[in-house]
Symmetry: C2
C-alpha cells in the first residue's frame, strides 16, 4: 500500500475507482492491452461471489459443465442478430500448431452457439428436458475502451444455458434466474438493484427479451450487473435443437441464457466505497475481521500476541479472520491499510485491552470514533455475527437511500435532461426507439430497464407526449 | 445410455476407454478438432478433485488468482528452452476487433512467462517473499493426436507458481507440492502413484528439475498424473524477478511451478474401471450412493418411494445421494446404468425390503452377488461411511497389487524389451540420454521417473552396462 491519500470520491470518482482497485490489490493491469490480472484479494472476493451464486444455482436444479473456449466462425453466423452484435468484438485464432487454420476459430464471447450445437446432439425427447446447465469460465470481447473489472477484453463469468419444452417454462426460468440475481445482490452484496426488462435497443443480440438487474453507483451512474435472456426459439432453430414431444411430434426447444461476471466486483466497489477506500459487504468479504495487535515492548508483544492468537483461533471456526502481525509497519499504517481494503471489522488489541479483558472493535462502515465499540468477551461468536449482520443491513440501507434520493420523476423533457446529469429519471415512455435515441443523443442517458414493479395506469411519454403504459429508467451508464 | 455392451477391457482397452467416457456422459467430442465438452457428470467429478486439491493448497499457504489467457508472443521467446518446447503447440490470435494485431497473442499453453512478468512488478523486497499463488483455469496446446481427457487441445488444470528468496526454499516447495499430489492421489483417488524425478530429456521446457507422479493404468501403460517443477533462476532471469535481501542487495528469486489437470480424470477411469464401466473412488464420486426403488404396482410404488425419499433425506446430510425415480426404464436398466457410471454404492429398495425393514446394498467394486450386503437400519450413516471407506481401501489395494504385479526387474536388456510390452521395468540406469533414446527406439518405452525411494547402493546400467547409482522406471506411456 502506498501512503499517499486516495483522490476524493466526490472530486474524481473515476480516478478514485482506479486507485482503489490497484492499491487494495484487487487487480492489476496485464501486459496485454485491456486485460487484467485478478490478484489474490480480488480473486478471493470472486470465489465468495461464485459460492453464493453456485449454491443458488444448485438449489434451483442447475448443474455445471464446461464447453470449449474456441467456436468455429461459421457457428456465430447461424444466428443473424447474434453475429451482427458480436462480430466487431471478436478475437480470432488463425494459426494453430504452426499452420494456418482452414476455418478460423473465435475465442468465445459467449457460448449460445456452441452450447446450442451440443444440445441439438443431446436432446432427443421431452424426457431429456429441461436441460439446466451453467458454466463458470472466461470469455473474450475485443473492447476498445477498457476499465479494470468494468470492461476488459477477457473477463470471468458464469453463463447459464437452459432448454425447455414450452415457451412458458423458458419464460419462467428467465425470471427465476433474474430473481436469483436480485436475491444475491440484496442478500450477499447489499446492493439494492432494480430488476427489469431491457428495451428492444438494449437487449442481447439474439434474444427475444432481455432482463437485467441495474445498480446505481456512487456517482449515480447505472451499472448493468447481471442479465437473463429469453431466447425464444431463435437458437433452437439456428442449431436445430428439437425434441419428440409426448405425442411423438418433433418440436423446437425454447431456450434461455443468463450471466453475471467479474463486472459485479466493480458494482461492489462503486456502491459501497468511500474516501478511505473499499467497504466490502460482510457476507462476501475475503477477510471479515482483521486483528491488529498493538504493543511497544517485547513484553507487551508476547502478552498481546497471545490474546490475538487465541482470538483468531476462536473466531476462525465461524468467520474469515486474519491477524496482521507485520512488524515492519505501525498499527496506524495497518488501520489505514485494512480500511483501504474494506475489511468490515477491525479488532484492536493493546495492553490496556488485555488488562481490562475487553476488545476494541472498529466498524469499517462508520468511520472514526462513532464506529468504535467495546466488547466483553462473553458469547463472542454471536456478538460478531450480529455486528457483521448489522453492517450488511447498514450498507444496504445506505445504498437504498442513496439510490432513492437520486431517482427523479421529471415533470417534462427539459427537467429530464437536467436530472440525468446527477441521477436517474423514472419516466413514462411510449416504447419507441426514436424517443430512446433522442434522449441518448441529447444527454448520453440510455434506457436502463423497464422495472418489473410498475405504478400501473398510464401516462404521457416524457419525450414525445404520446400515450405510454410503462415507466422506464433513463440514466447514464457504465 | 445405450444398451449395447461395452468392448471388453482386456480385448480393446482403448475403445473401452472411449466408450466409457462417452456412455457414462463424462465428456463428449466438441465440434472443434481435439476439443472436448466436459458434461455435468464429468465436471462434478472435476469439481470434487478441485475441492480436494484446493483445500490442500490453502493448508500449505497458497492463495488463488487469475492471470490472462493471452500472452504476447515475445514473452515466450524470453526463455530459450521454454519457447523451443512450446512453440510447435501454440494457438495464435492474430485478429482482434476486426484488425490484424501488431503483435500476435498466444493462447496460454502454461503461464510461467506472464506470471513471471507480473511477479517482477510485485516483488520488491524479501518481505514480499515467498509468493505462493495458484490459478485454476484453461490452457491450450495444439496437439495432433488427441484423446478425451488424456490429451486435448484445450484442457482444465491448476497451475501453481511460487517465488522464493533461496534455492533451498524453492526446492522444498517443489517437493512439498509433489507430496500434496501424492497424498491426493492415494487418499482421494485411491491411485497408488509413484513420485519421482523426471530425466533431463523428459523434464518441463525451462525447468532445472521436474518431478512427477506416475500412475499405472489398467493396460499397464504409465500416465504422468501431476508435475512439480523446480525452475531455478531461469524465469527470474528471463523476467527480471528480483528482490532486495536483508542486506539491501538485489537478488534473483528462485521459482517453482506445479500442475494437475483434467487428465487426472483419465487416470481415475483407467485405474479403477472394469468391463461394466467406471468405478469411481468414493471420496471423489459425484454420486456416492444411488437409491433404486423397485415396484410393480402403484401400491408398492408409494410404499417403496416413501422409504426411498426418507432414506435420501437422511443420507444426504452426509453423503452425495441420488434417487433414480425414472419411470420409463426398468430397475435392471438402472442397475446397469449406475454400474456403467461407477457409483460406489447402490441401494435397492423393493417391497420385501420394506416389509423386512432392511436395505439391500450392492458394492460397485465387487460385482454380482459377492458384493451384495443386507443392512439393518440402525446407525445408518456410520455404516455407509464405513462401506465407502472400505471401498476406497479395496480400490487402492487392488490397484497397488496390480501395479506391483506389473513392475519387473529384468535381468538384462533383452528381458527389458520383453517386459515393457506388458508392464514397467524398474532398472539401473547410468543416466545418459543415449541409453534412454535406445530404449525408446527399441520399445517405445520412455523413462517415467527416478523414484524418490531408491534401493541404495549401485548397479550396472540395463542398457550400456556402465556404473549406475539410480534405478528408473521404463514404461510405455500415454
Ligand atoms: Zn415517445
Ligand atoms: Zn547406460
Amino acid at each position: 500500500m502506498s501512503t499517499e491519500k486516495l483522490p476524493a470520491r466526490s472530486e474524481n470518482f473515476s480516478e478514485w475507482y482506479n486507485q482503489v482497485v490497484l492499491r487494495a490489490e484487487l487487480a492489476d493491469y496485464a501486459p496485454v492491452r485491456g486485460c487484467m490480472v485478478i490478484r489474490p484479494y480480488g480473486w478471493a472476493l470472486w470465489e465468495n461471489i461464485q459460492q453464493a451464486l453456485d449454491r443458488r444455482f444448485k438449489e434451483t436444479g442447475h448443474v455445471n459443465a464446461a464447453f470449449p473456449l474456441f467456436i468455429p466462425m461459421s457457428f456465430l453466423e447461424k444466428e443473424k442478430e447474434h453475429v451482427e452484435g458480436f462480430s466487431p468484438e471478436l478475437a480470432v485464432v488463425t494459426v494453430g500448431g504452426g499452420e494456418t487454420l482452414e476455418e478460423p476459430l473465435v475465442v468465445r464471447p459467449t457460448s449460445e452457439t456452441i452450447i446450442g450445437y451440443m444440445y441439438s446432439k443431446w436432446i432427443r425427447s421431452y424426457r431429456d428436458l429441461p436441460v439446466l446447465i451453467n458454466q463458470w469460465g472466461n470469455v473474450v470481447r475485443w473492447e476498445m475502451r477498457t476499465r479494470l473489472f468494468l470492461r476488459t477484453l477477457e473477463f470471468y463469468w458464469q453463463e447459464g444455458h437452459t432448454a425447455h419444452a414450452t415457451e412458458e417454462e423458458a419464460l419462467e426460468e428467465t425470471l427465476r434466474m433474474l430473481n436469483v440475481y436480485t436475491d444475491f445482490a440484496y442478500n450477499e452484496a447489499a446492493i439494492p438493484v432494480i430488476p427489469g426488462r431491457k428495451s428492444e435497443t438494449e437487449k442481447f443480440a439474439g434474444a427475444v427479451q432481455s432482463y437485467t438487474i441495474e445498480a446505481m453507483m456512487g456517482d449515480t451512474r447505472a451499472l448493468q450487473s447481471g442479465t437473463s435472456h429469453f431466447l425464444g426459439q431463435n437458437f433452437a432453430r439456428a442449431f436445430d435443437i428439437q425434441y419428440l414431444d409426448r405425442n411423438n411430434q418433433l418440436q423446437y426447444c425454447w431456450t434461455t441464457s443468463w450471466g453475471l461476471s467479474t463486472r459485479f466486483i466493480g458494482a461492489i466497489i462503486m456502491t459501497h466505497g468511500d474516501d478511505q477506500g473499499l467497504i466490502l459487504p460482510p457476507r462476501l468479504a475475503p477477510i471479515q475481521i482483521v486483528i491488529v495487535p498493538i504493543y511497544r515492548s517485547e513484553a507487551e508483544q508476547s502478552q498481546v500476541m497471545a490474546v490475538a492468537t487465541q482470538l483468531h483461533k476462536q473466531l476462525s471456526t465461524r468467520f474469515r479472520v486474519k491477524v496482521d502481525d507485520r512488524s515492519e509497519v505501525t498499527p496506524g499504517f495497518k488501520f489505514n491499510d485494512w480500511e483501504l481494503r474494506g475489511v468490515p471489522l477491525r479488532i484492536e488489541i493493546g495492553p490496556k485491552d488485555v488488562e481490562k479483558g475487553v476488545l476494541t472493535v472498529a466498524r469499517r462502515d462508520i468511520p472514526g470514533k462513532a464506529g468504535k465499540i467495546t466488547i466483553h468477551p462473553n458469547n463472542l461468536e454471536a456478538q460478531f455475527a450480529q455486528l457483521l449482520d448489522d453492517i450488511h443491513h447498514a450498507l444496504l440501507k445506505r445504498a437504498t437511500q442513496f439510490r432513492d434520493e437520486h431517482i427523479f420523476d421529471p415533470k417534462d423533457y427539459e427537467e429530464l435532461k437536467e436530472v440525468v446529469q446527477h441521477g436517474w429519471a423514472f419516466s413514462w415512455w411510449c416504447g419507441s426507439a426514436e424517443c430512446e435515441a433522442k434522449v441518448k443523443e441529447d444527454t448520453k442517458a440510455t434506457t436502463r430497464c423497464i422495472p418489473l414493479e410498475q405504478p400501473g395506469g398510464e401516462g404521457r411519454c416524457i419525450v414525445c407526449g404520446q400515450r405510454a403504459t410503462q415507466k422506464v429508467y433513463f440514466a447514464r451508464a457504465y
